[in-house]
Point group: C2
Chain length 185, copies 2
């Protein structure tokens, strides 16, 4: 396993955060849940439109409803999460009704802020693309005015030995491309 | 002017960060520039694809080239910025060549991480949608494999009194919707 390397003194939460799968069933406090949502709400956005929207699942019935939308391979580990958050975004600008090209981009920024506030509170987060968007639209009656983007699993870190063997082998912070690889000249 | 209100003890950088227009011409160090890019590089992404890409403008000729792509109203204030960063994203997955639905979302997360590391270093950032994307593609020979998303102005805070009068009136941290308004039931 290759270890993450940092050349610069960057924010501790950015350095330490990763996307584990070993999530404990232990419940999160409402204060923690509201705080990570407040952090998400303070992301910048085009025309300050704040196009991000969230569907929360934290009690048993709501968790079961959202969990069934996940792919079987995500249910294997995220099925234990005490909090699932579906991320949506409003496709058009509220101020003029035109298409907002940046709606998904801004929702990504909001998720970024949420993820770092969670890390700061010792809460792990793992965003999933693997869920049935069509069924999600039906289950929550989500109109075409919204993009359905991601489901985030959140909770305290659990016991990696309870993961299926192949997921145990992937249970470490993934490396990143070097900054040089990201720059287009 | 309505002031931002925080109900929870969230990350200081999230609370203090906003998108000013009064940018000083003072140059940023290469260490600071590389550190905010390293922070951006550690954002999570679907399949760890890291679809975000950046075009940097920091010397006189490069800044002039990117500046001319901005709308006249953005040039008024961002024209002074010592650093402009164009944010792009790779549309398809490297691992299988299929469309990556999350490429713009993930680029937004990366920009979020960058913005908070900048704030931590006393550097202001302001993302702009107002620039000519077609001309940007021509100027930098950007193929259709990439989305061209945003141009970020970054620098130290300058003198708001040098802004045009109408921009001076908007030079304060914008408020946000309450968390309750973001939750879809």
């Amino acid at each position: 396993m290759k270890k993450r390397e940092f050349k610069y003194d960057i924010m501790p939460e950015i350095k330490s955060r990763w996307s584990p799968r070993a999530i404990s069933e232990k419940k999160l406090s409402d204060t923690d849940i509201n705080a990570i949502l407040e952090a998400a709400s303070f992301a910048p956005s085009c025309f300050n439109e704040q196009p991000w929207r969230f569907i929360l699942a934290k009690d048993t019935a709501a968790l079961e409803k959202m969990r069934t939308l996940l792919t079987p391979s995500n249910q294997l580990w995220a099925g234990k999460a005490p909090l699932l958050i579906m991320v949506l975004s409003v496709k058009s600008f509220e101020h003029n009704g035109k298409d907002n090209f940046w709606n998904i981009f801004d929702a990504g920024t909001s998720w970024g802020y949420m993820s770092l506030e969670a890390e700061r509170r010792g809460i792990i987060t793992h965003a999933m693309g693997g869920f049935n968007k069509m069924k999600a639209r039906e289950a929550y009656n989500i109109s075409d005015e919204y993009n359905v983007i991601s489901v985030i699993a959140a909770g305290y870190y659990g016991n990696p030995e309870e993961l299926p063997h192949d997921l145990q082998e992937r249970e470490y912070p993934a490396c990143r491309k070097s900054v040089e690889e990201l720059i287009i000249k």
